[in-house]
Each structure stands twice: as C-alpha cells, then as structure tokens.
C-alpha cells in the first residue's frame, strides 16, 4: 500500500459509504477520503481515519458514527485516528466534489489556484448558485475550519468555498 492508497475491505465499502460528515451531511466519509483503511483482524474491523483539520470537532462524531453503522451490520470495530499521511483535498472523490457543489459549497481548486484566489484576488471560484466567476473573497475563514467565505457579485449569493489543503 502506498502512502495515498486506501485499503478497504470490499464487504465494508457499502456500509461506510452511508456514514456522512456531520457538518456536510451530503458528503459521505468515503467520498471525503477520511477513511484510510478498514480491514478485518480476527473478526474485529479495524478502521483508520484521518482528520481533515486538526481541530475538526467532527472527527469524534465520525468515529462514533462508523462504530454504530458497523455494529448495525453486525460487526465490532475499533477506530484509530492517524495523522500520516496528512489528509489533502485531493482525496475528495469526483462524486464528493459534485455533492459539495450541489450542496452549495464550491469544491476546492488546486493549490496554485487557491493561492491566486485567496491572496491575489483572482476570480476563478464559481458561484454555486448562478455559476458566475465574478465572485469575491469575503474571508479566508468560514463557518468551519475547512471553508472560506465568498460572495457572488452577480447574483449576490454568499457561499462557502472548500479550501484547498495539500
């Protein structure tokens, strides 16, 4: 297994896909890329999850939710929080990005684009409401640790942008 590969037992994929981020309920933890491995060790499922941001209060809840979902499927489990390799927004799947957009959160761009947006005021983040690129950064920090606040200058809609993390 290389550093960025996931190692998930095929029997568990469907169960884990039903667990979502409590702060972004449309996004499955699998599509977010926080589950790094889930394997059977002597009938117990060992799950490794990695935090998006260190202070993310959702991690404890996600751990509990995984335990609950596995229990309902008849499996005992142990959850481990791992820090290495560090989570990156690259691990959000295409399906996850789509879910974010539909929910009204602009999905992360790449690191260079992020710098241009957050530092140099370039207009490349698309409004999640009308699709216009005429958007303005309101603040680099938003309603949760992983988001920045934007506003569309055309339709005036305020929206969140999921910050790029590499």
């Amino acid at each position: 297994m290389t550093a960025t590969e996931q190692n998930i037992d095929s029997k568990l994929v469907e169960i884990l896909e039903k667990v979502s981020d409590p702060e972004i309920p449309v996004l499955s933890i699998m599509d977010m890329g926080v589950v790094r491995s889930a394997i059977f060790v002597n009938d117990v499922v060992k799950v490794e999850i990695t935090p998006t941001y260190s202070g993310c209060p959702a991690m404890d809840v996600i751990g509990d939710d995984i335990k609950k979902a596995l229990k309902e499927a008849g499996y005992e489990s142990e959850i481990d929080l791992i820090l290495h390799p560090a989570w990156t927004t690259d691990w959000i799947t295409p399906r996850g990005r789509k879910a974010l957009e539909n929910y009204g959160i602009a999905a992360p761009l790449d690191a260079e684009a992020d710098k241009d947006v957050l530092l140099n005021g370039k207009r490349i983040v698309k409004c999640t409401n009308c699709g216009s690129q005429n958007t303005r950064l309101v603040s680099q920090f938003g309603s949760t640790a992983c988001k920045a606040q934007f506003q569309c200058q055309d339709c005036q809609e305020p929206f969140d942008y999921f910050k790029c993390l590499k």
Binding site: P51, Y53, S54, G55, C56, P57, L83, H84, P85, A86, W87, L118, L119, V138, S139, Q140, F141, G142, S143, A145, Q149, K163, L165, K166
Partner: protein, 250 residues
Amino acid sequence: MKENLYNYILGIADNSLILGQRLGELTGHGPSLETDIACTNISLDLFGQVRSYFQYAGKVAGDGRSEDDIAMLRKERDYKNVLLVEQPNTDFAYTISRQFLFDAYHLAFLGELQKSTDLTLAAIANKCIKEVSYHERFSSDWVRRLGDGTEESKSKMQQAINDLWVYTDELFHQTEADKAMVTEGIGVDVTQLKNDYYKYVSEVLEEATLEVPDVKYFQKGGKQGIHTEHLGYILAELQYMQRAYPNMQW
C-alpha cells in the same frame, strides 16, 4: 519516562494552547464578524494541534495521564509557552501583531520539525504546517492592510509592534530539552531560524510601511516557566471547570 522528549513536546504545545485560549476570548467579541470567525477558527486549529501533541506526550509519560490532564492540571510554572503568546488581546492591532510575530516563527519551526527523526512529531508537523500557512497568510495580510491603512490604524499597529517586539527574541532561545532533542535529531535548532525570521518579518513590516523596532533589551522567561502576570489570569479561566468540579469529564 523520556523526560526531555516529554518536556520538549510540552514546550511546543503550550505555545499553541495559550495562544489558542487567547484567541478564544474573541469569540463573539471580534471587531467584525469575519475577523471574529477567523480568529476563533485559528484558535480551533491550534487546540486541535495541541490535542495531537498532548496525546503523544501522554504516551511518552506512560503513566496514564490524558491530554486533558496535561492541559488542565498543571501549575503556572509548569507551562513552558513563550511570553509572546500570553500577551493580552488589547485591541485588534495587538491581536494581529502578536499573531503575525508568532505565525512567522511557527511556520518556519514546523517546516523543520517535519524533518524530525521522531515520526510522530514529524507527522504532526506535516499536518499542522498546512493549517499554519493559512494563519500566516491571514495575519501578514492584516499587518499590511492596517500598517498601510489610515493614519490611526498605522499608529496603532506601530505601537503594537513596538510593544510586542521585546518578546520575539525568546522564540529562539534553547531550553535544556531543546538541546538534548537537537542532539538526538528529534528537535529543531531554533537558533538557526532567527536570521531568516527577522529578515522575513522586516520585509512584511516594510511592505506595511511600518518601522522595524530598534530594541536592545528583550524579555525572556516563559520557556523556563517564569511568566508575565497575564498567564495566571489565563489559567484561572482555562482551569476553572477543573477547579469547580474536580476530575469532571465532558
């Protein structure tokens, strides 16, 4: 127990703990909604980082003490944070100057800690540095904006930078634990970060049209547990629940 390693971890984590607590005071009191949310987001990041460090310190101690025990159940002299981070919020010029002077150091420090031979510390640093880059972007941006702003914002920023400058030199002092950890390839030699730090900070101040203070005498002591009077007040609040309801748990 590996005492030097334990003390070394606390030396790093206490800076984030106390600065996080200071920024937390701004919850609902920031000068604008966006800056309020930004400062408390940074606070949350720092507390998250502290948890990783203290969980590891608990393992190193090996006597069952938890992250909460380490955070809450120590006396003032046992906190090893630098004096800079315990300075009061005062006004937004002070808050943002303190943040910038610390972030610039923090970023450079984590850059080196990523190379530690201690894989847990390296992993924590690798995680934290991504968050701290955002902190530094935010604080340096505000230094420029307020320094190169109105006459009033400029003079307030200059005052804050002048007052806080005396606490910067301590960032580059080595403790006994530091020296031992550097020798083992675990710790960062902070003395090596000093020149680049002052060079970078001076560049930003120049862009902000602020003057670099000319100070000959610097304050120190935090790393040895000798604090300014402010830390006592911070701990009074931080440890309140534990004193009111000993051994309480969330």
